[in-house]
């Protein structure tokens, strides 16, 4: 059976997460089709056609799919799903918003945020904030799955899939897009950055995050934060790394002034190398850190910046 991957895209650009989801689809095995739904998405479709392993890109380009609202996107997926054995999406806010609608409308269960493919019907996924890993087998004819992008390596971009239009247009009278307020950033996207430096409550206030910015600029890193730092109002909540924020798995994760609560660890403990800088040597973060520095961050950070 074929596999349908729902493309993730923003502002006319294909999100890098899609290449990771295609990698998961390749492990399942079968023809891989990518669905690009939105308005004015021809560039996204072309980018998706270049992903290795993709056989076909299906493009639903219509005003009703603009902003990828759950109601029309769910109905579109329902209309297309009969051709497929699996429907996959990234476990982003878009994937999480839409896929359960498809599953319910097709009367099948959904597997959320898989981190490994064991076979075409058996997958591994974290439960209890990543403190246990469940191996689950779906007995449904259609498998609806969201994929944790950081758990799969991205496929290359040397493919040349065919692109075809999807004629299906659905109605949507139930929801209307009003506005979006996106945080602006020149730095790499948190979810896909190779290096992430995060600050916690120990940063003291929002202004002190400039100490992290100087280092982030030298390392080409994205900046994250713990829930404590977000709740204290230091930084906006889209910077939050954790069970209730973003899940990251960079090559290098630097945790500064972060104690290491369960909810934060769930978002970053699959990073390759973890560095903790904290003045409390009993902080739980040191139990997962490869390199720990017990120091006052206000001295350590400027010194680190200078020595990079």
């Amino acid at each position: 059976m074929s596999i349908l991957v729902l493309a993730e895209h923003h502002d006319g650009q294909l999100s890098s997460a899609t290449a990771h989801v295609v990698a998961a689809a390749k492990q399942i095995g079968g023809d891989i089709h990518v669905l690009v739904a939105g308005q004015g998405v021809s560039a996204v479709a072309e980018a998706a056609a270049q992903l290795d392993g993709v056989a076909k890109v299906r493009v639903a380009d219509h005003a009703v799919y603009a902003h990828q609202l759950a109601e029309p996107l769910g109905d579109l997926l329902v209309a297309l799903a009969d051709d497929y054995g699996h429907v996959l999406a990234c476990s982003s806010t878009t994937g999480k918003n839409v896929l359960p609608r498809l599953a319910a409308l097709k009367d099948v269960g959904q597997l959320s945020e898989i981190i490994a493919v064991e076979s075409a019907d058996t997958f591994r996924r974290p439960i209890y904030a990543g403190n246990a890993i469940a191996t689950v087998q779906s007995e449904d004819a259609l498998k609806v799955i969201t994929v944790r992008a950081t758990a799969f390596d991205a496929v290359g971009e040397t493919g040349s899939a065919s692109v075809e239009a999807v004629a299906t247009v659905v109605d949507n009278t139930r929801s209307t897009f009003i506005k979006e307020a996106l945080a602006e950033s020149d730095r790499p996207e948190l979810g896909s950055a190779r290096v992430v430096i995060s600050g916690g409550r120990g940063m003291g206030n929002g202004e002190n995050f400039t100490l992290l910015e100087a280092i982030a600029d030298k390392l080409g890193a994205a900046i994250g934060a713990s829930r404590a730092a977000v709740d204290a109002g230091f930084v906006p909540n889209d910077m939050q790394v954790g069970q209730t924020g973003k899940i990251v798995a960079p090559d290098l994760y630097i945790a500064v002034g972060i104690s290491g609560a369960i909810q934060h660890l769930a978002g970053m403990k699959d990073s390759k190398v973890i560095v903790a800088i904290n003045k409390d040597e009993e902080a739980p973060i040191f139990q997962v850190a490869d390199y720990g520095l017990v120091a006052d961050l206000f001295q350590a950070l400027p010194e680190l910046e200078q020595k990079l």
Binding site: R101, L105, G109, Q110, N131, D238, T244, V275, L293
Partner: protein, 250 residues
Amino acid sequence: MKVLVAVKRVIDYNVKIRVKPDHSDVDLTNVKMAMNPFCEIAVEEAVRLKEKGVASEIVAVTVGPKAAQEQLRTALALGADRAIHVETDAAVESLAAAKVLAKVVEAEQPGLVILGKQAIDSDNNQVGQMLAALAGLPQGTFASEVVVDGDTLQVTREIDGGLQTVELSLPAIVTTDLRLNEPRYAKLPDIMKAKKKPLDVKTPADLGVDVAGRVKLLKVEPPAERQAGIKVGSVDELVDKLKNEAKVIS
């Protein structure tokens, strides 16, 4: 407007869980249980809507074992007017829970249904969306602000990269994100009064829902342990290790 709030009994979020030695599941014997934190936020939002005069009645509902009535009593102490317990000892998956809730929605005809965005045990993040699909209603997931305006609802949603505001026709389904509100604590007199509030008990069979599972749980394992790291003595040593030992910076 009647508001329906779904709550779930889960392991307390402060508990460090243990996997059973036979890897069949997580060990929940003698473990402290509580209302799922996102459900607390859902109850709080319903109570605030009632305080603003938007909601006229709050109905709390749960699907689960007999002990889950504790969480319904908590919701009643926090301000819900009555409760519905759909009692089952089965391990209820998201789809079955959504089907049960869809039947309750059909019977109660609420103007708004509020759920948490995910339960901290299964981490699925599915029930609200599935309920919306089954009930044929629009959904406002991961809500950080909810404004009822006549027969429409404006929901500000936390999305990757920022915030999105959508307008939904009522009735609608909302799932709560952490920053929607800060839940209050139940006061002792309210806990006493909650014991007298009505609590209906039904079964999935009464509602005509089959709660049999679709997903087989083959194995539960603890996550791979990270190797213990080392403490470095200075920033110089840290930079040296990152460059020459871990080779993650150049």
